[in-house]
């Protein structure tokens, strides 16, 4: 099924917006994690960790799913296909992996926000949680930067499935 050009451009616009927005929101999350990790001020800790929770829940998670879903639609609706080119498969795997890790880490984000609201601030626990969150945010930023690079460069290489489909098309074209 080939998508009409206007629909393809619309979904592509949504995909680029959500993907770039995701990178930006993870960068802001990382900034808060670094503040939580490095600040000696109790007030800064009590502000940074609880702020990370709504950013993750209301911005990062929806944008991650939006990037994943809006990425699938143009693939299925155009000649690129979903499993025909290696760069598309790698991009899908990286985004799925990053989204899965994000969902797994949501509990830790809530835990860090909860710890930051305790009367006596558990600094050691918050530091351990903050370290994990900072490492995962930096890792997520790196992992999600790669799909963007792949989308721009579109490195060559068809999968076996893509090669077979190309052969079928060529045999149909040839008399």
């Amino acid at each position: 099924m080939i998508m009409p050009p206007f629909l393809h451009k619309f979904t592509l616009t949504l995909h680029v917006t959500s993907s770039v927005g995701l990178l930006g929101s993870i960068a802001s999350f990382l900034a808060l994690a670094i503040v939580g990790l490095t600040s000696a001020d109790d007030q800064a800790l009590r502000s940074a960790y609880p702020a990370m929770q709504p950013i993750a829940r209301m911005v990062i998670v929806p944008l991650a799913f939006a990037a994943l879903l809006t990425g699938l639609i143009p693939c299925l609706g155009t000649a690129w296909g979903l499993f025909q080119h290696y760069w598309v498969v790698v991009k899908l795997l990286l985004t799925t992996f990053a989204t899965t890790i994000l969902l797994i880490k949501m509990a830790l984000i809530s835990e860090a926000a909860r710890l930051a609201t305790e009367t006596i601030l558990p600094r050691a626990d918050l530091h351990a949680a903050g370290l994990q969150l900072a490492v995962h945010a930096a890792g997520g930023l790196t992992v999600l930067f790669l799909p963007m690079v792949l989308s721009i460069y579109k490195p060559q290489g068809r999968t076996r499935c893509g090669w077979r489909k190309q052969q079928v098309k060529l045999s149909v074209v040839k008399p």
């Binding site: 830790l108 835990e111 626990d125 290489g157």
Partner: protein, 50 residues
């Protein structure tokens, strides 16, 4: 990758193979680091002694 002479399919291109090897190396590196510090339970704040 397609053989330019025979036109036969010759498996994934070099960048896919190199990326896969790098990914496996990173996973192994993470696994070694992860187990050397005592696993996920030691990192999780909920399990840290109060």
């Amino acid at each position: 990758m397609v053989d330019p002479v025979t036109g036969e399919y010759k498996g994934p291109p070099r960048w896919v193979k190199k990326s896969a090897i790098t990914a496996v190396n990173l996973v192994l590196l993470f696994a070694i680091h992860f187990f050397s510090i005592g696993g996920i339970s030691a990192m999780h704040p909920a399990s840290t002694p109060q």
